[in-house]
Symmetry: C2
Subunit: 437 residues, 2 copies
């Protein structure tokens, strides 16, 4: 056969090149080794559908599917979200990725030389609107960086006992709000809520004065487990379809008043921003590394025998309204997480809780060992005590109206990068409440 | 016209009778004044579709829809869940209810005398399987009974300061797990999880030894609000489509070890049982009552000018495996709730959090003023200190394997009852973890 579909390519091979030339630069986020999935639309065809990013283009998988080149996907790429494809399982994910890689490989003529098909399938990234890549079933957020939990515990509790007694035993997490997970580029109004300073007798309802970001990664569950059936850490790793960047916006003043005893609620319910491209676990395979050693040894149901962290560089920039350029405020790495995403997922299912395709697990704020690697303004400014001064002279304790926050991330391969694109959100002024103050 | 479709009936009129004779008894849970919606299937047609309960039958609305008798519903009754119909809005809900009421009214001949249509549309309840009536988008659980919060605070904190400082100001709530909301009749395996007694040095992973129920009502959001747009309490009430019974199963020993600082997680993630019939807010209109007076006066965004509680009798029975009959362990009333469901919903949207059709709001455990009206075994047995003795001689502190718990509820009208059916779940032994102990 000459259509490349039966040839298996090692899809992570650093030497692979694409006939989409923009994909071959050493700093391109979307080389042929990446092939992240997303949902997009165009002016000519406003129906969202699934594509992969390649160089500065999107490959429209719904077109390839209709042309019969992706027989594995059962029509799922014409859907507006990835849930259907994710539910097909790991063997289909891997086989489909190999097929797409083959079709984009430099020497493969099937799509490269079919100008009509190519014209319909390859769309410039600058011409597309990106949408939520999945319908999020449940969104869960963890608290799994030891440095982050230690910083928060030091600030609000006791520096001598910064970690709660359960923290080294359990990947602490809570249920988040799925309806307000939004895609990069969605503007967000500053939330209002109940706040009460310690010296105030009663709370008031007003715009948050301590609006923060949290740098996280989001793991997307691809295949689920039935109600009542827990899974091992290794099984959990195989259930994860891929990862996105995630900004868990947080209103610290609302949070501190409301969170006892049932945890954060409206302080985090107003929005969570994710990046539009889902980088598959398979593309990240070469970047697996071990996390910090775990002492005490976790209970058997949380023990992992494989390296389940990723060497993934992360950066946050803040650009005030009117500023000439974004300023980096945090640089860190996903490898620092104490509890890995597979451990988090195994814990999540340990009670028999059912997971479904499209469930989203926020890693928790990713803070590293140095102050510049802390993943929230709460930590970077030590709850406002130490304002940041940006290169253009502005100072920040927390986020101001008009600020644009952008998360980026990439794995550095041998001559190529696995990029995540970005998760951006701009804060708009608060909306007045219809009931008044 | 003689098909009854243009005639408006006062659907709550106590004097209304149906030609479905079983609906007319004074204790029938499903009289013509009720008309609760549910999803059902039959052996002959295993595709779930929407019906209303009437007497000892289900009226198959997909059949009426296809026959052109429900022009308002836009085909939504042929769907397996109510979300589409709920999204059509309050005017359609009301108009559709009036049409269904008219078609079932004793003197209306349109359906009564059309034997072919009637045979296809009216199915004995004993012949149907009931399914989840909605696809739950987000599940939120509140903590809104003053008696319950006081009991819990007295038990675990300080009897002198049982309520947290925020409790009288905020309808305290947290995000629950949507994937494990199950319909009445679904068996549930006892969950396993991390537990640690105060005198143990380290936690262990084992089956919960303190498995509990929580008697709640669930409010189903019918129409949503967009991201960033809060709503008033009155608007919130109009957004609620209807109510179900809800048992928020809780593993107390898992909860007490995991819940600091982010709230309950695996202790409640394994299952939440709801009743299959959604009783509409419109059917409950005659039973609206004021709740307890609120002091301090809530902030303006939480103030309500109308009576937003319901006079709704509630009961829980426990039947051990092999017992001859169920034993009542709690009798209470929904009217005792300090924070009403509309207040909860208005608070939920106060940050700009978007609500969607199918979102479920658990009221929180409903405990009344007397010990027999407390809505959890935690309270009924005072955390196991005071075991219950059942009429057949068994004793209980918490739930044992094989126990069946059933919630029932009804509003008492003048000669009729608005019944909720039941929310039943039986506890099965734990499933061994695939990773071992």
């Amino acid at each position: 056969m000459d259509n490349g579909m039966t040839t298996y390519y090692k899809t992570q091979d650093p030497s692979l090149k694409s006939w989409v030339k923009s994909a071959n630069g050493p700093e391109c986020p979307f080389p042929i080794q990446n092939l992240p999935y997303g949902a997009f639309s165009t002016a000519a065809n406003p129906a969202p559908r699934i594509g992969v990013a390649i160089g500065d283009h999107v490959l429209d998988l719904s077109v390839l599917e209709k042309a019969g080149l992706l027989p594995q996907s059962e029509g799922c790429f014409s859907a507006p979200v990835l849930n259907g494809f994710m539910g097909l399982g790991a063997a289909v994910w891997s086989d489909t990725r190999a097929t797409i890689s083959a079709l984009l490989e430099k020497e493969n003529s099937r799509l490269r030389d079919d100008s009509a098909l190519r014209a319909g399938a390859l769309v410039p990234l600058s011409d597309v609107t990106l949408h939520m890549p999945v319908q999020v079933g449940d969104f869960t957020d963890f608290y799994a960086s030891r440095e982050h939990a230690t910083n928060v515990g030091t600030m609000f509790r006791d520096p001598e006992n910064a970690l709660m007694p359960n923290w080294l035993h359990i990947p602490i997490g809570y249920n988040g709000r799925a309806s307000t997970v939004v895609v990069s580029g969605t503007d967000i109004h500053r939330p209002c809520g109940q706040v009460k300073a310690p010296d105030q007798a009663a709370p008031s309802f007003r715009p948050s004065g301590k609006l923060d970001m949290e740098l996280e990664m989001g793991a997307l569950v691809g295949t689920g487990n039935p109600l009542g059936q827990p899974v091992t850490v290794e099984q959990a790793r195989e259930m994860i379809f891929g990862y996105v960047l995630l900004n868990d916006w947080s209103a610290r003043d609302i949070q501190v008043w409301e969170y006892q005893p049932l945890g954060p609620f409206q302080a985090k319910a107003f929005a969570t921003t994710i990046s539009p491209w889902v980088v598959t676990a398979e593309a990240l395979e070469p970047f697996r590394v071990s996390g910090p050693s775990q002492d005490p040894v976790p209970l058997p149901y949380l023990q992992q025998t494989a390296a389940n962290n990723y060497d993934l560089n992360l950066k946050v920039t803040l650009q005030p309204a009117g500023a000439a350029s974004p300023a980096a405020i945090c640089e860190t790495n996903f490898r620092y997480m104490y509890w890995s995403s597979p451990q988090q997922l195994a814990h999540h299912a340990s009670s028999g809780c059912a997971m479904r395709p499209g469930d989203l697990l926020g890693s928790g704020t990713i803070s590293g060992p140095t102050p510049a690697s802390w993943g929230s303004l709460l930590e970077l400014t030590w709850n406002g005590r130490d304002p940041l001064t940006l290169p253009e002279g502005q100072t920040r304790t927390f986020i101001e109206d008009g600020d644009s926050l952008t998360l980026t991330g990439w794995c550095q391969g041998d001559g190529y990068r696995i990029g995540f694109g970005e998760a951006e959100g701009t804060i708009l002024p608060p909306v007045p409440h219809p009931a008044g103050g």
